[in-house]
């Protein structure tokens, strides 16, 4: 209601801006990027610095789409951290379950997936998370579905033991990767041709990013935003989230 009030108060301003253009816009934060202001300043909704609508930077702001695959037993922070980061980067996020039946994450939270594997649209990035990962990694239908999307998937992002799912889909062969600290040896056994690292927040192989356990997904997501939108954007999001302990570059970027 507070934001609604601010928006109502700003309506005349918006009307002027829309008539006179080009105006100033809030960089996409997933909530207020459709509003146009007639002068520079700060977005009253999220505190971001407004940018010129028609600057050269605008083409960079095309939203990436990202599919969050959720299964019963998904670790809640594994996906919630990246969801927070990617939503402020303006990514178009949707959730997919094997079916549309509610998924219970962390044994507690009941989530209704947006899509099932029968009707999920393509996405630029496929994201998979840890927890009871064998629910997904051990399900031939799910693995087959992930493989079937490979031609249209530009990138993969795994958090924690979500790496086992990518491994089962054959996506980690011969790559340098990481996973949850208690699962380093078992991932190495599951994907013998991979080099599985410990003590690294994430490993970026270009098309495939794997992160360490649970909270490391936040760092991996910020790294992906930095890669796609620039380090300043990642730092802005980290500050907004008060993730002030974020240190850029705490992962490994494998030279292609």
């Amino acid at each position: 209601m507070r934001y609604l009030l601010i928006l109502l108060l700003c309506m005349p301003l918006l009307g002027m801006a829309q008539q006179k253009g080009p105006g100033y816009v809030c960089p996409p934060c997933g909530q207020c990027d459709t509003i146009v202001y007639h002068q520079p300043g700060i977005c009253p909704h999220c505190g971001m610095t407004l940018v010129l609508r028609d600057t050269a930077s605008v083409p960079q702001q095309q939203p990436y789409s990202i599919c969050f695959y959720l299964y019963n037993g998904t670790e809640v922070l594994d996906f919630a951290g990246p969801l927070e980061v990617f939503s402020y980067a303006g990514f178009k996020i949707f959730t997919v379950g094997k079916t549309k039946t509610p998924v219970t994450v962390q044994g507690i939270l009941k989530v209704n997936p947006d899509y099932s594997i029968q009707d999920a649209p393509a996405a630029d990035i496929f994201a998979i998370f840890g927890g009871d990962d064998d629910v997904a990694a051990g399900d031939p239908e799910v693995i087959s579905w992930i493989k079937s999307r490979d031609a249209t998937t530009k990138g993969y992002f795994s958090v924690c033991t979500g790496a086992f799912v990518l491994g089962r889909a054959g996506l980690l062969d011969s790559l340098t990767v990481t996973t949850f600290h208690n699962s380093i040896k078992s991932l190495q056994k599951a994907v013998p041709s991979a080099k599985v690292l410990s003590n690294v927040r994430y490993v970026d192989n270009g098309r495939i990013i794997t992160t360490a356990g649970i909270s490391a997904g936040i760092d991996g997501a910020l790294h992906l935003v930095a890669k796609l939108r620039g380090e300043a954007e990642a730092m802005r999001i980290a500050r907004h989230m008060e993730y002030d302990k974020y240190v850029p570059g705490q992962g490994l970027v494998v030279k292609q």
Copy 2:
């Protein structure tokens, strides 16, 4: 399935332990605390060090119950970080919405609340989170419901602008508190008798803990676990979550 296999392999061992007792148990992590082993070691499920079932520490492990109130527009990391922490501390967490209609958090994730305000059971701790907080703070029915539970609520925990909800319920009067960095002034205006601090991860007033924005909820939750279960337990959870940047004591504990 991997864990199921481990459990099946351990079944004879468990049987022996249950006959001979007292045995060793995994400290509660919300997933594996019902298993009894006949010798010390490491929990094969979560990697925790097993403890004697009948040691003096066991009475400390009685679960706290915690009510997570969710509304449309709740910030996802605000509640997911604490949910992760509290679940590994063995707290009994349930979610409540105004009704049982699915709640959309972060504009993306559709969550089915366990209870509505009509049928939610009492809880030791009431937790409230930021986002479009006026959806809850501006709803007299919700505020009235929170007030009606006060006699049975031992503690309150707010993250980010969730503090506005506690403020509207009259719970922050004359306290030292904190909130999201962009909302310090507006919370001060909303609760003139409170002292609203910036640049602190959390403020603990004894019965009421308020945290700074979004990711600071993780630190506040770890602080609450440290308070109720000891710093070693909070550190164990932080390590498990690979939240290795956790620094105990980055909040303010107000002397009572």
